[in-house]
């Protein structure tokens, strides 16, 4: 699953300093340098170890339930007159792709000799996935969560507590995901020796975006094998995924990044509409800047103050986007589409009715593109169904008055 980087070969992977084109790098205060540097020096070697790969793969198989199915969505395909496959990350243990990364990082943390784990979470999915692997390994777990999100996501807060994690409210700034991330980073500054920070997406300083992308790459690795069985070809015409920070998308795109015949479609949350002031469509609204240690596209004022995004889906509610995606956008390799709250909610309900699958609202954004983005009848389109909708039932209920 590792790509040896060949010199002079055009690639959309990170280079050794963690740059994707002009994006990425590690813009961190000196207080974080020893931690980040320790990880940077070792992550590739650790991931290459046989014992690591064995343990990682075994846990993905027996604990997470991989490989997740690649399901041909017949009724959905018929409706849009094209061939749509759903990559069923919603069937992962804990309900979303997030656990692929937390399994990888907890094994990494153990090998780095860390005995305390911190994480940030927005909707609580990454927090739950982190609390889960910490319970599995018997390691102390502290999850930072915006005070406002704690109120909005009570069931996930309860799950984390049940799993033994301590949930700490982030009370600074706007009291949501970006502030939870700030608090986690501050915790890491205060605990530089024994603690590993499990970041939940392909964001943050190098090596995080690359490391998280490699852990999530199992998604596209499986798609290749499964598509070969079903369609006798490894490459679909398109891969579609929603992008918050961009980890499920990075995993779904990973093994296709340098295969130009495969179209890459990244779907962002337009919220109430791109230009309403209540949106999270970073590619449309963002400018180059630095957030959480990475140079990337981010939503900010003219004065460089980071602004608060909005989406009905808490998992897409991040003012930046991973540097890989900034580069896919800037270089034109990726097609970026943004989907409003209304369109996403409708697409979620529709999938439930057509296929008997209730998707996470994040994933519903990816499903919603078929209304306007037309594909050819014989196109093979893989949509990464990043998570299931259990956590979103209240939002669905309120929205549709179910």
């Amino acid at each position: 699953m590792f790509y040896a980087k060949k010199l002079n070969k055009m690639t959309y992977q990170a280079d050794e300093k963690g740059y994707y084109g002009e994006f990425g790098g590690a813009f961190i205060p000196e207080m974080l340098y020893p931690n980040v540097e320790e990880l940077r020096k070792q992550y590739l070697d650790i991931m290459k170890e046989d014992s690591f790969q064995k343990e990682f793969k075994a846990l993905l198989k027996d604990y997470v339930g991989r490989p997740t199915p690649l399901y041909y969505a017949e009724r959905f395909s018929k409706k849009y007159n094209t061939k749509v496959y759903l990559k069923r990350e919603d069937l992962c243990h804990t309900g979303a792709h997030k656990v692929n990364n937390t399994i990888g990082q907890i094994l990494m943390a153990k090998r780095l000799g860390k005995n305390r784990i911190i994480a940030e979470t927005g909707a609580g999915q990454h927090g739950v996935a982190t609390a889960t692997v910490c319970a599995l390994m018997g390691i102390e777990c502290i999850v930072y969560m915006g005070e406002i999100d704690i109120e909005r996501q009570a069931p996930n807060v309860a799950r984390m507590k049940m799993l033994g994690a301590k949930v700490v409210p982030a009370k600074s700034g706007s009291k949501t995901l970006k502030d939870a991330t700030n608090e986690a980073i501050r915790d890491w500054i205060n605990n530089p020796v024994d603690t590993h920070y499990i970041i939940g997406s392909v964001v943050g300083p190098h090596p995080y975006p690359d490391m998280v992308a490699r852990f999530q790459a199992v998604i596209s690795e499986e798609i290749k094998t499964q598509l070969k069985e079903k369609e006798n070809r490894e490459n679909p015409d398109y891969v579609v995924a929603c992008v918050g920070g961009g980890s499920n998308a990075a995993g779904a795109f990973f093994h296709y990044l340098d295969t130009p015949e495969v179209g890459i479609i990244a779907v962002e949350a337009a919220g109430k509409g791109i230009y309403t002031g209540e949106s999270a469509a970073t590619s449309a609204l963002g400018k180059e800047g630095i957030i959480h240690g990475s140079k990337t596209l981010l939503m900010q004022t003219d004065d460089g103050q980071i602004t608060e995004p909005y989406s009905i889906s808490a998992g897409l509610d991040y003012p930046g986007v991973g540097p890989m995606h900034a580069h896919l956008f800037r270089s034109g390799r990726g097609e970026f589409i943004s989907i409003t709250d209304d369109a996403a909610m409708k697409a979620g309900l529709q999938l439930a009715k057509l296929e008997g699958i209730i998707p996470a609202i994040e994933s519903s954004h990816a499903l919603a593109i078929f209304e306007d983005r037309k594909f050819k009848e014989d196109d093979v389109v893989v949509v990464n169904l990043s998570g299931r909708g259990d956590k979103d039932l209240n939002t669905y209920i309120d929205y549709f008055e179910l």
Partner: protein
């Protein structure tokens, strides 16, 4: 000669104060600077407020949030500092995170600093290697000293490297912590102060983070050339307003 280097040659322990520009009131910046100088502070760090100050604790964060809410901007700061050099002669350093500077334009920012008479910059999230590769030439052109941080976890090799590329002083972060800790300095921290002193670096060291009163100031400057107070001063402003700066300075360094 650059005002920072000149100041470092004085035969005394230096007291520096950090405050967030635009706090407590948006137009307090100049008055606070003048008052600090009048009361014998040796140099000043002027904070450029940022929405997401990763290395700062709640006190400085909160002051930044208030300053931004009052309408503080980078342009506004330069406007306020327009005539500062007709009244203030101690070294002035701007401390800010990199994103607002990047949006303003690094070249334009440095030119503005030179124009109003800023002597140096502290940008915690601009790493040394990125600075060397991309920005050093610009800073040099405008006569600005860039101040780098070291921490108790910084390796000896890296400290030597930072000493090599520094030209002014090294900012020694006292403990593994964000700003605003009030725990005082334990034996481990004092041993770190001594360890750094024994390295005989070419640049003098100024200690910051966790200095709040006379005791911590004295501990920090036992070996180091000076110390910087931030959160404790912001708290003082918060409690007593900007008209009582003399008391604060005297409480740290009685005359």
């Amino acid at each position: 000669m650059n005002r920072i280097k000149e100041k470092l040659q004085e035969d005394k322990k230096l007291l520096s104060i950090y405050f967030t520009s635009g706090y407590p009131e948006i137009n307090d910046t100049v008055q606070i600077i003048k008052s600090l100088e009048k009361n014998g502070v040796d140099f000043i760090e002027i904070g450029l407020p940022f929405s997401d100050p990763l290395a700062d604790g709640p006190t400085i964060q909160e002051s930044s949030t208030i300053a931004l809410k009052s309408g503080m901007t980078t342009n506004k700061l330069f406007e306020q500092l327009k005539d500062i050099r007709s009244e203030v002669s101690i070294p002035l350093i701007i401390m800010g995170y990199f994103n607002p500077i990047l949006q303003f334009g690094v070249e334009k920012f440095c030119a503005k600093c030179e124009e109003v008479g800023i002597d140096g910059l502290i940008i915690p999230d601009l790493p040394v290697d990125v600075y060397n590769d991309n920005y050093k030439a610009i800073f040099d052109k405008h006569g600005l000293k860039n101040i780098f941080l070291i921490t108790p976890q910084t390796s000896e090799e890296r400290i030597r490297f930072i000493d090599e590329v520094s030209d002014g002083f090294i900012y020694m972060v006292s403990t593994a912590s964000v700003t605003g800790s009030t725990k005082g300095f334990g034996e481990e921290t004092k041993a770190y102060f001594k360890r750094i002193a024994d390295m005989k670096l070419k640049n003098p060291q100024v200690v910051g983070f966790g200095i709040s009163d006379e005791d911590t100031f004295n501990d920090a400057t036992k070996y180091a050339k000076g110390a910087i107070i931030g959160s404790a001063f912001i708290k003082h402003l918060n409690k007593h307003g900007k008209n009582n700066i003399e008391d604060f300075v005297k409480s740290v360094r009685p005359v």
